[in-house]
Subunit: 471 residues, 2 copies
């Protein structure tokens, strides 16, 4: 519990309506989109200006109060759970797009802008911001940058980090700094911009962003491929890339996910297949048609049992929406849904999906797998019940084996969700003791008192699965 005096000071900075301190108000900020994790903050503060963020941080730093910056809290790694209480810094009032610069192909905006609103605004002038994380209708761009969010276009277009050109950010001391800008080339010193992307709110609070945009591709087309074996699907992905075609999107759903999605979305998907691929290509009309036809040919050669091209843009959009609905569909099955994020080099996709299936049987847990086949980013998703401690233990063992397997295949413990709390215990395995020591050194350079999102990413100690704490 913060002293009344500190709460008053916060009210002076952001105004009466910018401070939430009643239990019922705090509750929403004790959780994020990650299951099984909860911890109450002491106070929620909603700044509206960089100056206010600066004053809040200076105050918090002086009094060693934890500060957890947060957008919409859609992250799936417990990144915004205030495990040490303190201040949740709700950045959603920074919700303005300041400038779409059509000459330099950049957009400058506040971190509280919702991702889908950014998409809409730039698309209205024929421009394109490719990163499209699953939560884009709710997530904020500040959260996307803090987590280095991915999405369905990673193979061709990269992820959030590939689009962040400049930042304004505030250090725990209250210092307001800028890095990067609108220059396509800039090698003046270490790349602080890139270091802040994906730093999960542990290094600084981002108050303004300049993002790179692309021209909107002329057109796009979708293709769906059904396979009787997962290895066929993996081989089709592999051969497509080997044929020098880089589709915008190559998603896959395994048999179980397909079944659930079909129950939910009524698409009439075939029931007797092991996997489906959902492929989208964009670009010029001729190129797109040629690529899609070539992929269809490859799919048939590799034994696909069905290949269907979307006849209209509406058909195509419906197919993509089916993939987007996977999490929602799966989460209806049982009380608790844990969506994970193991990633492997693309060539290991087939092996990894099979490993997940073996592991799921070994531990007798229900895991469906879907994800981004083109970039090897799998989302093994477990339907379970958090009230069943014995089952939850098996679930945790299964995921541990999944991550170990991903690492053995040259993969990583998280492709796009971040480390947060959920992956902390696996991080040393991924980056080694040396990597951990360096990261701690970087953290100390930005936040020597450790007030920014403490207990996350590189903190000491394994995370507790369920952390409920009342102030």
């Amino acid at each position: 519990m913060l002293e009344e005096q500190l709460l008053d000071r916060l009210r002076q900075i952001v105004g009466q309506h910018g401070v939430l301190s009643q239990s019922n108000e705090l509750y929403a900020y004790s959780i994020d989109a990650t299951p099984l994790l909860q911890s109450m903050p002491d106070v929620v503060v909603l700044p509206q200006t960089t100056q206010q963020v600066s004053e809040i941080l200076r105050l918090a730093n002086e009094h060693r109060i934890p500060v957890v910056p947060r957008g919409s809290g859609t992250n799936l790694a417990g990144g915004t759970i205030p495990v040490h209480g303190g201040i949740v810094l709700n950045m959603t009032r920074f919700n303005q797009i300041y400038e779409i610069d059509e000459k330099n192909l950049t957009v400058t905006l506040g971190p509280g802008v919702v991702t889908a609103q950014l998409h809409q605004a730039v698309e209205a002038v024929g421009l394109f911001y490719p990163p499209d994380p699953g939560s884009m209708r709710i997530s904020t761009i500040g959260g996307n940058v803090a987590q280095c969010a991915g999405g369905m276009r990673g193979l061709k277009y990269g992820v959030t980090k590939d689009y962040v050109m400049g930042l304004e950010y505030v250090l725990p001391t209250g210092e307001v700094l800028r890095c990067g800008g609108k220059n396509y080339k800039d090698v003046a010193g270490y790349d602080l911009t890139r270091l802040l992307v994906g730093s999960e709110g542990t290094l600084a609070v981002i108050t303004e962003l300049t993002l790179k945009l692309l021209p909107m591709p002329e057109t796009k087309r979708q293709l769906v491929v059904f396979c009787s074996k997962m290895v066929d699907a993996a081989r089709i992905v592999e051969r497509t890339v080997a044929a020098k075609i880089i589709p915008a999107t190559m998603e896959f759903l395994d048999r179980e996910t397909m079944k659930v999605v079909d129950d939910y979305s009524k698409l009439g998907l075939p029931k007797d297949v092991a996997a489906m691929l959902l492929i989208e290509q964009d670009g010029s009309e001729e190129q797109v048609v040629r690529d899609v036809e070539r992929i269809a040919e490859i799919a048939r050669q590799e034994g696909a049992v069905g290949v269907e091209m979307a006849k209209t843009p509406e058909d195509g959009a419906k197919l993509m929406m089916a993939r987007r609905s996977a999490l929602a569909a799966l989460s209806r099955l049982r009380p608790t849904t844990i969506l994970e994020d193991a990633t492997v080099p693309r060539s290991q996709l087939g092996e990894m999906v099979e490993a997940v299936s073996r592991i799921s049987e070994k531990y007798r847990v229900q895991i469906c797998t879907f994800g981004h086949a083109g970039d090897g980013n799998l989302h093994p998703t477990c339907m379970t019940d958090e009230r069943d401690r014995e089952e939850i233990e098996r679930v945790e063992k299964a995921f541990e084996e999944i991550f170990t397997t991903a690492l053995q295949l040259g993969g990583t413990i998280t492709g796009e969700h971040g480390v947060g709390l959920s992956k902390m215990k696996y991080l040393p395995q991924r980056v080694g003791d040396g990597g951990m020591a360096l990261m701690k050194g970087l953290k100390a350079a930005f936040d020597p008192n450790g007030i920014l999102n403490p207990g996350k990413v590189i903190a000491n100690g394994a995370p507790k699965r369920v952390v409920v704490r009342h102030p």
Copy 2:
């Protein structure tokens, strides 16, 4: 001068032939491609294995001996001048390509591989590594990564940092670490890979790299545009991008550069124009033809006095080679050629070129400007004589004003050459005191004793223009 005992220890590590310590051998390592800078190393060491690099660094760290990692020394910012003597670590024996992974579209190689050899090797299997710095026939890929080298394809394809996926590197303690890998998505902790790119040998020694490749574009076409005013050229660049066309290359040469290049390459360029644009587009045949025709149309509308399409690939290659020869051509004019690297947002290109021209008149120095119009990366190049102290002073004042102007226009002090020694005094202006403090903190996390490339990038004190030191 290093004690004989230390030289013996180095010989034990790398063998007799891996240690150069005679003055005549050291001389070549007292300079790099940057004019006016020279300082003698105490010894040059040529390791062949990561283990050897580890032992050398451990020894140097123990005895606080400076270590300057170096490839071919083609950098233009004095980045590889051993200003504090010590060991120059020549990495050119790490010259093997270990693997071209066609399934994952990656290449894994040693830092000593020459950039053009990398191009050749991947192109032989239909793949493409876009960064093409001016020195690519000589430069090593390790140097490219250390400096985050750019090239002529920045606008469409980005620069070196956009292609580095994984690194093996050695810390001053001798610890051998790895970061990144072959995963297209990976958010496990802070992005150490990206931090090491462009760190100019001040954080660690890179011993192995994994780079991202693209499929080779199907075809490419070139177009040359002549303008009677520089502003016309700038407007053509601007309108091309506004028309949602992103060419692979958009280079420009000003009148003076054109004249000199033409004398050198005998291309028969017109003499009565103010600027030329050299544009290349790549992609599918239809797309390329359409884009090039559309650009030609825009150029004519915007008052270009000549628009010529390359009739054959040989014609096109010749045109691009003319641009590549600009530095060589200019450097024949006077004893000393200083090629600079001011960069601005693309929309400020015309204004910046005009400012350079004004500044050159003001200080009565000869500055030709050419560069990468598409990404706002200018190379104002001064032909001077280092023996004329008075003129050199005017040259330095002119460049100081050029950098200040670039910063005022939202630009940066170096787009692709790096900070090294040459830009150190401008870096605080670009990143601020706060940015400098953070960078020093990062440096300390990697290299607490400051043995790696000391006196560079973020070191204290302004650089001396001419530093000659004999051991």
